[in-house]
């Protein structure tokens, strides 16, 4: 029993790190993704090319490698005189990575609203900004809740990748127990992810129901 409590405590401590990465990434990557999606839809060519290249590079390389680059490349290039703290490096890599994915979801959402909606707004004499915020945006939100929910649940599990730059997250702690001869903590750690994702799933189905009103 004592051992069970000890393992639970260590795993919870690890899951704290996962949750921190999760929350900060979410809060920062959603607005950043929106900005990137604006860039991707821009009619100003250099900007569009720049954001498309950014999305291509970020989506085209493994997140694990990006974590390595953010944490190890600055000290390797500066001969050890500069490096981000481990957690900051992880957050930077996660935010950039998820902003790229979110931006594509936003772009898809915005472009899926039929032209007729804009035209209807114009007929009513609304300004461009009014049309976007009052007519289009909420329909976009409704359309993207499912893919965003999908991405967010993926994020929960991706946070474990931070262990490659030695952030003591839950899976790393669980693996340490197996070095001490305890196998079950590794499987027990799945429960934490399941519970967390379960709550998120319920939350998203609630949000989707609420947004049904805006079904375009």
């Amino acid at each position: 029993m004592n051992q069970f409590l000890n393992v639970t405590e260590q795993l919870l401590k690890g899951f704290g790190e996962n949750s921190l990465i999760f929350i900060v990434t979410l809060v920062a990557a959603i607005p950043m993704g929106l900005i990137v999606s604006m860039g991707s839809r821009s009619r100003f060519f250099p900007l569009k090319a720049l954001t498309r290249t950014f999305v291509w590079i970020i989506r085209g390389t493994p997140l694990m490698l990006q974590l390595f680059v953010v944490f190890y490349v600055p000290p390797l290039m500066s001969n050890g005189s500069f490096n981000f703290p481990r957690m900051n490096a992880a957050l930077i890599a996660f935010i950039i990575n998820y902003a790229a994915y979110f931006s594509e979801i936003f772009r898809g959402g915005i472009e899926s609203v039929p032209k007729g909606q804009y035209e209807a707004g114009q007929v009513l004499g609304m300004k461009k900004s009014q049309i976007f915020f009052k007519v289009v945006l909420l329909q976009v939100i409704k359309r993207i809740t499912a893919p965003i929910g999908n991405e967010i649940i993926t994020l929960v599990k991706d946070t474990s990748l931070a262990s490659v730059i030695a952030i003591p997250e839950i899976l790393m702690n669980a693996k340490d127990f197996s070095m001490q001869g305890l196998i079950w903590p590794l499987f027990y750690s799945a429960l934490f992810f399941l519970l967390f994702c379960g709550v998120l799933t319920l939350l998203f189905s609630f949000i989707e129901k609420k947004l049904n009103y805006y079904k375009g």
Binding site: Q3, N6, Q10, F45, P46, K48, A49, L50, R52, T53, I57, F68, F71, Y72, V73, P75, L76, M77, N79, G80, N83, S163, V164, I165, A166, P168, M172, K175, D176, S178, M179, Q180, G181, L182, I183, W184
Partner: protein, 286 residues
């Protein structure tokens, strides 16, 4: 026309990205060659560690070397040994948990200053890192289910058995080249802990792991307590050393002196005794 422009832009950007990489790599290599040429006269590495006032020690949790005790305190043979050596060197020890697979990168990026975690000395590692005097011996042992412990005593008895070991480990070397295992089937896994899991779950019959590892994992109360070491046969002794950055000659010399000093005053033996590792010590009092 617009499309052409886009292609050009994209091409240009990719080129700059790659050019950037190339540049960093080349500046890096020139830096390291600078270091090696200057290392003969002055050792920047020791000055660097001394200026910081702390030695960042890269570890992984691995009983009985570095691990958490019941109170959540870091303890173990290497932990105590490294702390004492740092006292001798006049710097503070700072233990940093790392991912074992990235230990060389961590060292070169200076996010750690040494690796002190039951690191086996190999020719390859000697070439890439500065390795201290070997301080401890280790050997490869066979682990099997307790009820089979008497069964696998000869090469013939191993016919049809499955042997498992960690990829690229000394155990793998043994399992693949020693005549004793000739009639067995070999499977490699990615860690020693997984090799034990294979035996426990019955997917393999024998795991070849290192002896020091078996002390911590097979103790009473662990999930592996029904596994046991086949006592009368061991293979390929290997030696443990501390790894520093390459060309850190001065740090290395100071480290070796400090380890010898601890052996001379008997403290090293005391620590080893505490963790049942006394017989394996290689540094003796002069």
């Amino acid at each position: 026309m617009k499309k052409l422009l886009a292609f050009l832009m994209a091409g240009l950007m990719t080129a700059t990205v790659f050019a950037g990489c190339g540049e960093s790599a080349s500046s890096n290599s020139s830096e390291s060659s600078d270091k090696s040429s200057s290392s003969a006269s002055a050792d920047g590495d020791w000055a660097y560690i001394k200026d910081k006032g702390e030695m960042v020690i890269g570890i992984t949790y691995f009983e009985p070397m570095n691990y958490m005790d019941e109170n959540g305190e870091l303890t173990g043979f290497e932990t105590e040994f490294a702390t004492k050596v740092c006292d001798q060197l006049g710097v503070k020890p700072k233990f940093q948990k790392i991912d074992w697979d990235s230990k060389e990168v961590e060292l070169n990026a200076k996010t750690i200053d040494c690796i002190w975690n039951g690191l086996t000395i190999t020719d390859e590692r000697k070439e890439n890192m500065g390795i201290s005097t070997p301080y401890m011996e280790n050997k490869q042992v066979m682990v099997t289910k307790a009820e089979n412990a008497d069964k696998y005593t000869s090469a013939e008895a191993l016919s049809g058995a499955t042997v498992v070991a960690e990829k690229k480990s000394a155990g793998e070397e043994v399992a693949q080249s020693d005549d004793f295992f000739k009639q067995a089937t070999y499977v490699s896994v990615d860690s020693q802990a997984k090799a034990l899991l294979e035996v426990k779950s019955g997917t393999a019959d024998i795991a070849v792991i290192d002896y020091v590892m078996s002390i911590g994992t097979l103790k009473d109360g662990s999930d592996y307590s029904n596994l046991s070491v086949i006592e009368d046969k061991s293979f390929a002794p290997e030696q443990y050393g501390v790894a520093l950055r390459k060309d850190s000659t001065e740090t290395l010399a100071k480290l070796d002196d400090a380890m010898q000093a601890l052996a001379d005053n008997g403290e090293l033996e005391k620590i080893a005794d505490k963790y049942n590792l006394k017989d394996l010590l290689l540094i003796k009092a002069k």
